[in-house]
Structures are given as structure tokens and as C-alpha cells.
């Protein structure tokens, strides 16, 4: 009898898990259904819940906007930002972890202070500064403000501090200077930090919206999310095309998430110090 009760309980738990998964998965599934629906299936009651595989909306969506250009912009912005954050983070993290220099405590305090400044506080002055530096409506304008990340610096510092001193000794025997030691030994050893920082920067820059919305004007340097927002504004009544565009813009993140799920979840949770 106890076995039966336990089985019923397990079955109930699975039923609940499936219901939860259905709720969370549904909006994305619905976007896919809409994007390949036939015209007659969109504005109908009750709604059609199964995909029809009509690819015409996709074709129309792709020709309606220069998506290739938007994609390229976002790819450039995202990848250059990742490299910048990694380089500035590794350099500063190394200095804070393994070097003694005057003002180290001051630098440490400054970095902690930066964590206290929310994006809302800097939004308007950043716009003004970007205007003065001729960064409005440019790709660097969407990259530079995000090129240093305090979280990344502290993460690298933490990893570098745990490196065994023997590594440095061996490197010195091989006459490896600190610069090469940093890039050839320390950074590769801090691979989890590299992965975490890359994933987080990728997710935030790919999704970036408010800042590029403010500083970009024409389509030339517009990233995908802003392009999607404009597309929705002009063609909001074309559900199938807009749904297709939404899928299109989030596909890279979903693909990366599927392949790096565990790292993604650890990265996001680790950001709060809750591991």
C-alpha cells in the first residue's frame, strides 16, 4: 500500500511539473505557431494551437527590414564587448589579486562604489557624454560604456588569488614574465571566470535595449532588439511577421542556453554571491 501511495505522489508531482513546464514554455511555443501560421488561422476564435508551417510570413518579415544588418551590428557589439570586459577584467583582477601597489585599497573602494551606481542614475549624463565624445549613433557608443564590469574584475581577482604559487615559480624557472604568465597561465586556469563573464555579457548585450534605443537613429548601427521594437511599432498588426522576427532575434540566446545551460544558470546565480 505504501508503494502505491508513493507512486501516486510521484505521479502527482510529475503532473504538476508538466503543467508548470507547459505554462513557462507556452509563450515561446505560441510565437513559433504564430510565425508559421496561415493567414486564415491568426485572427480566429478559438485560436489555432498547432503550427501550420507556412513560411511566407518569414519571407515577408525578412524582406521588410534590414535584419542582416541589425544582426551584424548586434554580433559586433556583443563580441567586442565580451573581449573588452574580459581584458579589462583580467588585467584589473590580476593587479588586485597578485600585485602590491600604492593605491590598491583606493582602487578597491572605487570599484565597490561603482556597484552602487544604478543605470538609471547615469542614463541622462551618459547620453550627454556620448554626445560630447561623438559616440551617438555609432557602434563604439554601444560598446564602450559596457567595456568594464566590476563583477568581472572581482571574479577574476577571486580566481587569481586561488592559483597555487608553484605555478608562478615554475613559470619563472621557464623565464616567463608576468605578462605572459597572466595570459598563458593565469587566464586559462581561470576558465570558469572567463565562461561566466562571457555568458553574462553575451546575454545582457544581446538583449540590450534602452541605451541603443536612446543613442541610435537610423538603421545603420541599430541592434536587433531596437529593430524589433520599431518593426512592432510599424507592423504590429502583422502578428505572424512580428512573431517570426521575435523568434529570429532570440534564437542565438536560446541556442547558447541549450548548449551551456548549466554554466548559464551558475553564472546568473553566482552573480549574487549565492552559489
Amino acid at each position: 500500500m505504501q508503494g502505491l501511495a508513493r507512486r501516486l505522489k510521484e505521479g502527482g508531482r510529475y503532473a504538476l511539473l508538466i503543467a508548470v513546464a507547459a505554462c513557462f514554455g507556452f509563450p515561446l511555443y505560441w510565437a513559433v505557431v504564430l510565425s508559421v501560421a496561415r493567414r486564415s488561422q491568426v485572427f480566429t476564435l478559438p485560436p489555432h494551437l498547432l503550427p501550420a508551417f507556412d513560411l511566407h510570413p518569414f519571407e515577408r518579415m525578412l524582406s521588410a527590414q534590414p535584419w542582416g544588418l541589425y544582426f551584424l551590428n548586434t554580433v559586433v557589439i556583443t563580441s567586442v564587448t565580451i573581449i573588452l570586459v574580459l581584458v579589462t577584467g583580467a588585467l584589473a583582477g590580476y593587479a588586485l589579486a597578485l600585485r602590491e601597489f600604492r593605491g590598491r585599497e583606493v582602487v578597491f573602494g572605487l570599484l565597490l562604489a561603482a556597484l552602487l551606481v544604478p543605470a538609471e542614475a547615469t542614463l541622462i549624463p551618459d547620453y550627454v557624454i556620448a554626445a560630447r565624445l561623438h559616440l551617438l549613433n555609432t557602434l563604439p557608443g554601444q560598446i564602450l560604456p559596457f567595456g568594464a564590469n566590476v563583477f568581472a574584475i572581482f571574479l577574476f581577482r577571486q580566481f587569481f588569488k586561488t592559483l597555487p604559487p608553484s605555478l608562478w615559480e615554475v613559470s619563472q624557472l621557464d623565464r616567463v614574465g608576468w605578462w605572459r604568465y597572466l595570459w598563458r597561465v593565469a587566464v586559462p586556469m581561470a576558465k570558469p571566470a572567463v565562461v561566466t563573464v562571457s555568458l553574462l555579457t553575451f546575454a545582457t548585450q544581446w538583449s540590450a535595449f534602452q541605451w541603443p534605443l536612446i543613442i541610435t537613429q537610423g538603421p545603420a548601427v541599430r541592434p536587433v532588439e531596437v529593430g524589433l521594437s520599431f518593426f512592432q511599432g510599424f507592423d504590429g498588426t502583422h502578428w505572424r511577421e512580428v512573431a517570426g522576427a521575435a523568434i529570429f532575434t532570440m534564437l542565438p540566446i536560446i541556442v547558447v542556453f541549450i548548449f551551456a545551460q548549466r554554466y548559464f544558470i551558475e553564472a546568473v546565480a553566482g552573480q549574487t554571491g549565492e552559489k
Partner: protein, 338 residues
């Protein structure tokens, strides 16, 4: 044998002898061993942090000071010299009921309050449902966790675009569901009453996964022997929950509370997309979804009142600063950077 083991086996006198011969650099910790001449070291140290500090200086430290200065001017893009000094006039205007700022605070409080309560209850409930057990393996748990977490990493604009369709009063699924349940249809995004709840549903769907991950981490820290002992004693599930689970989760819960509050206060993309941002600022029917974050954007980048927007930003700065400081105080034991 590794180099570290080797080090331990050396006698103190041997180490001392090496010190005298100048071999100490290699035998000490890495911090000291990276040492060179003092001046060169300091320059190198500063040089290494300089790229990061330069970027933060231009886009974080300087703006944090500028925003305060700007809030005292009727600021225009020509600069401080060409802008009229306003004193505290703009802060007075914030308090004027007709400016809409106070309303935006009310909307924000309503939004934050509901998001907080729902995130705690649903987040903990989902974590409990998705928790693993050492004794009994639940198959597919990783998949279910991934599905719940996936919306958190998707772009806000892309997903909110889909929610706009779901909330469509005529053909949307939300109303189809209500009708199927025999309930009256709702105007959702076109209704000043229901636009904000629609935003809440969108963002609960999107952000719950984050709280679930944190709660799962908290749950995994409860020692399994404590739980087993309680189960052997036939303690009721509610008692186990109140006496064991909740006390163990309290630190995580505090972190979730603060982060949820901060995230809710900063929400922008979804509100902009759901409630007509693309048609001139957004903010819902009779500003029913104009949170302070949306109000800030509209003041500066739709109405072009940069100085006034800066005053709004200063108020938000202070509110978020208090929250962040509280979080840091509470989370000090758990942070990684000490």
C-alpha cells in the same frame, strides 16, 4: 610530487638560507613573488587597473556626479554655461501632483509590491517542486528547471512582443482562456486597470526562474540528515517547512527580496513594448504603467527636459542606493568579493 608538497618538506633553515641567496622570491606566495622595483611596480599596478577605471570613470563616476549637478539646472544640450540655473525648482515640481512623478511612485510601489509577494510565494513553491533528492532521483528534473529558467535569459523586447498578442482583447489567448472558464473578457493592455497586471504576468513569467534558482541553491544547503531525522520523527510537512526549511532559507530569501525589488524598479523594456512605448514614450492608458523608470525615460528622451529627468534620476539613485546598501549589509556573509 607537486611543487607545493616539496615546499612543505623543506626545513625552516633551508628556506632561510634560500632567502639570503635571493631565492626567496620564488618560495613565497604569489603576491610577493610578483614584486619588482617599487616605482615600476606601482606604475604597473595602476596601469593594469587603468583601462577598467577609465571606462568606469567616463561612464559611471563622472555621470553619477553630473546627474546631481544637472538636476539643479534647466539643462540643455549646449552645456552648463548655456543652461539656466533652476535651484531646487525641479525637485519642487516633482512634488507637484500634476507632474505625474508622485503617480509614478505609486505605480512603482504597486508593481514592486505585487511582484515581490508573487515572486516569493511562486518562486519558493516552484523551487520546492523542482528540488532534487539524494534518495529518490526524479527523471527529467534538469529539463523542467531549464524550461522555467529559459525565459529569464531571453530578451525582454522579443518576449514582450509575443505577450502583446496574448493580451490582445479580441483574439488573444488570455481572453480565450477567460472565456473558456466562463469569465468575462478583459481589456488588458487597453485598460487602465489591467495594463499593469498584464505587465506583472509577463515579467513573473520572465523573471521567476531567477528566484527559483536562488531558492534551489538555498534548499540544497539544508543538510540531508536534518531532513531525514525530521521525517523519521514523522514531523508533519508543514512543521518541517516552518521549522527547518524556512529558517535555512532566510538568508536566500533576503537576497531574493532585495534583488526582486531592484529589478522591478528598473524594469523598462517589457513595459515599453507592452504599453505602446513605440508610439511615444509608453506608460499605458492614463499612465497606468508609468513606473518611475518609464517616467525618467519620458522626461528626458521624449519631452527633452534633461534637467528635470536628472532630478527624477537622483531620486531613483537614492532609493536604489538604500536598497543596494541594505543588500550588501545583509548579504555580507555570502558575497564573494571580501
Amino acid at each position: 610530487m607537486t611543487a607545493v608538497d616539496f615546499e612543505i618538506q623543506r626545513t625552516p633553515s633551508e628556506v632561510a638560507a634560500r632567502d639570503e641567496t635571493g631565492g626567496s622570491r620564488r618560495s613565497r606566495g604569489p603576491r610577493r613573488s610578483h614584486r619588482g622595483p617599487w616605482l615600476r611596480d606601482s606604475l604597473a599596478g595602476i596601469g593594469l587597473v587603468l583601462p577598467a577605471l577609465a571606462i568606469l570613470g567616463v561612464f559611471t563616476y563622472l555621470p553619477a556626479l553630473l546627474v546631481l549637478a544637472m538636476s539643479f539646472f534647466h539643462w540643455n544640450l549646449a552645456g552648463f554655461g548655456k543652461s539656466q540655473f533652476a535651484g531646487v525648482a525641479q525637485y519642487k515640481a516633482l512634488l507637484n501632483p500634476y507632474s505625474g512623478f508622485l503617480q509614478s511612485l505609486t505605480v512603482t510601489a504597486y508593481y514592486v509590491g505585487v511582484m515581490l509577494a508573487a515572486t516569493l510565494v511562486l518562486g519558493l513553491g516552484l523551487a520546492w517542486l523542482l528540488r532534487g533528492s539524494i534518495t529518490r532521483r526524479t527523471r527529467g528534473l534538469g529539463f523542467f528547471r531549464a524550461v522555467v529558467f529559459l525565459p529569464y535569459v531571453t530578451p525582454a523586447v522579443a518576449t514582450s512582443v509575443v505577450w502583446v498578442f496574448i493580451f490582445n482583447p479580441q483574439f488573444g489567448l488570455a481572453n480565450a482562456l477567460l472565456r473558456a472558464l466562463g469569465l468575462p473578457a478583459i481589456g488588458w493592455l487597453e485598460s487602465s486597470t489591467w495594463a499593469l497586471p498584464a505587465v506583472m504576468i509577463n515579467n513573473l513569467w520572465k523573471q521567476l526562474g531567477f528566484a527559483v534558482v536562488l531558492f534551489l541553491a538555498g534548499l540544497s544547503r539544508i543538510p540531508s540528515d536534518v531532513m531525514e531525522a525530521a521525517e523519521l520523527d514523522r514531523a508533519s510537512p508543514s512543521r518541517i517547512f516552518r521549522r527547518i526549511v524556512l529558517p535555512y532559507l532566510s538568508p536566500v530569501t533576503l537576497v531574493v527580496v532585495i534583488i526582486t525589488t531592484i529589478t522591478a524598479m528598473q524594469t523598462f523594456g517589457s513595459i515599453y513594448t507592452l504599453t505602446g512605448g513605440q508610439f511615444g514614450g509608453g506608460g499605458g492608458p492614463i499612465n497606468s504603467t508609468t513606473t518611475t523608470a518609464i517616467y525618467l525615460y519620458k522626461s528626458a528622451f521624449v519631452d527633452f527636459h534633461y534637467g528635470y529627468g536628472a532630478a527624477v534620476a537622483v531620486v531613483m539613485f537614492v532609493l536604489l542606493l538604500i536598497l543596494t546598501l541594505v543588500q550588501r549589509k545583509l548579504g555580507e556573509r555570502y558575497t564573494f568579493y571580501r
